[in-house]
């Protein structure tokens, strides 16, 4: 609750012209935005691009924020939409240029310093990228962000039944992928 009140204060200060208030809000949520985009797209470069786009959208639209939901939910919704649009654009681009869709792009930007962590991330990222987008988004929100189905429903606009079905499909597919990996 304290966090929510702080967010509201930052937004109101920004609307009144305090640019540093926006910087503080952005700094608070930048890693959450980045990681959601990273898990959706599977690579750092795309995640960075989406992060920058989301910050620009926030900057432009924050003045119209109506405080009907938490700031975090609102930001999360924007990030999720941008990530899905980005994936669709990439798919179309690859289709038009007859490129194979790379389900995983390796980039050695060293933004993750620890090697062991990087390897663990690569393993699960490769598997998640093989999931269809609908299954991927619900799996990420449920497993990584620990959101309830009702909260995911508010973000995606889909029914809890559909979300559960997609989630369990995702889990079963990941189980198979990781099992094949071991073999």
């Amino acid at each position: 609750m304290q966090d929510l009140t702080n967010d509201d204060i930052l937004i109101k200060n920004f609307i009144q012209g305090d640019e540093s208030a926006f910087n503080r809000l952005a700094t608070k949520y930048q890693e959450k935005i980045y990681w959601h985009a990273r898990r959706m797209t599977g690579n750092h470069l795309d995640a960075d691009e989406i992060l920058q786009e989301v910050l620009i959208v926030l900057y432009k639209k924050l003045k119209t924020f109506k405080f009907k939901c938490s700031v975090y939910t609102w930001i999360y919704r924007i990030t999720n939409t941008r990530s899905i649009n980005f994936l669709k654009k990439n798919r179309l681009r690859n289709f038009l240029t007859l490129n194979e869709i790379k389900s995983y792009r390796d980039d050695s930007n060293n933004i993750i310093a620890d090697l062991e962590q990087r390897q663990k991330l690569e393993k699960i990222e490769k598997a998640i990228q093989k999931l269809p987008v609908k299954q991927r988004e619900v799996f990420i929100m449920r497993s990584y962000d620990e959101m309830t189905y009702e909260e995911i429903s508010k973000v995606t606009g889909k029914s809890t039944g559909a979300l559960k079905a997609n989630y369990f499909h995702a889990i079963n597919k990941l189980k198979e992928l990781l099992k094949n990996d071991e073999q």
């Binding site: 980045y34 993750i112 699960i124 369990f168 990781l178």
Partner: protein
């Protein structure tokens, strides 16, 4: 009835009470298939757990806001350029439109001025030249077609007027000799044929 996946999910997300948890753990112990399934589920979650709290390199996180500010500046400059572009395009179209309209108006005025300066003889000469030109484009087929349509309408009018008393007075003012110069032989034949049919003649 809940599927195993749903039970695993509730168990991992602590959505079971103590009694349900105990029942679930007993169920796993009693079924080898369920235990294997649960193990695979645990592996997925272990990987998720390991990749959950990875920290980003500070050098990267420190560049996020400055990069965002740079992009914002570029977008602002671009939007100003775009606005100026639109304004220039509108102005350009307005200027072109204005110059076309004023040119047309000037041409019309010039023609009117030229006409007022001409003498009657000059005007008649021009008109006769135009008629000569028109004769070069004399289209016999078109004239015939117009004549045939005119004849049909003329017959209709003659029939209508025979029964229309209100225009009878109009006939009294018609000078037959004058009328004759406007009717061709064919017109006269047609009128005669209709009047014969009506047993007027």
């Amino acid at each position: 009835m809940m599927s195993n996946d749903e039970k695993f999910d509730m168990y991992f997300f602590n959505e079971m009470n103590a009694k349900e948890k105990q029942s679930f753990e007993d169920e796993i112990k009693s079924s080898k298939q369920m235990e294997e399934d649960f193990d695979r589920y645990k592996k997925v979650f272990a990987l998720v757990h390991d990749s959950k709290n990875i920290k980003l390199d500070a050098l990267y996180t420190q560049t996020i806001i400055p990069n965002f500010r740079n992009r914002l500046e570029k977008k602002k400059k671009l939007s100003i350029l775009v606005k100026y572009g639109y304004a220039f395009a509108v102005l350009f179209i307005a200027v072109i439109g204005y110059s076309i309209i004023t040119n047309v108006m000037n041409e019309k005025q010039n023609l009117q001025q030229i006409y007022t300066r001409l003498t009657n003889d000059e005007v008649n000469s021009l008109v006769s030249e135009m008629n000569i030109d028109a004769e070069n484009y004399y289209d016999e087929n078109a004239i015939e077609k117009i004549d045939s349509i005119y004849n049909i309408e003329l017959v209709k009018d003659v029939n209508a007027s025979l029964y229309d008393n209100s225009i009878e007075s109009g006939y009294k003012d018609i000078n037959i000799k004058e009328l004759d110069q406007y009717l061709s032989d064919r017109d006269i034949d047609l009128i005669f044929a209709e009047l014969s049919k009506k047993e007027i003649i």
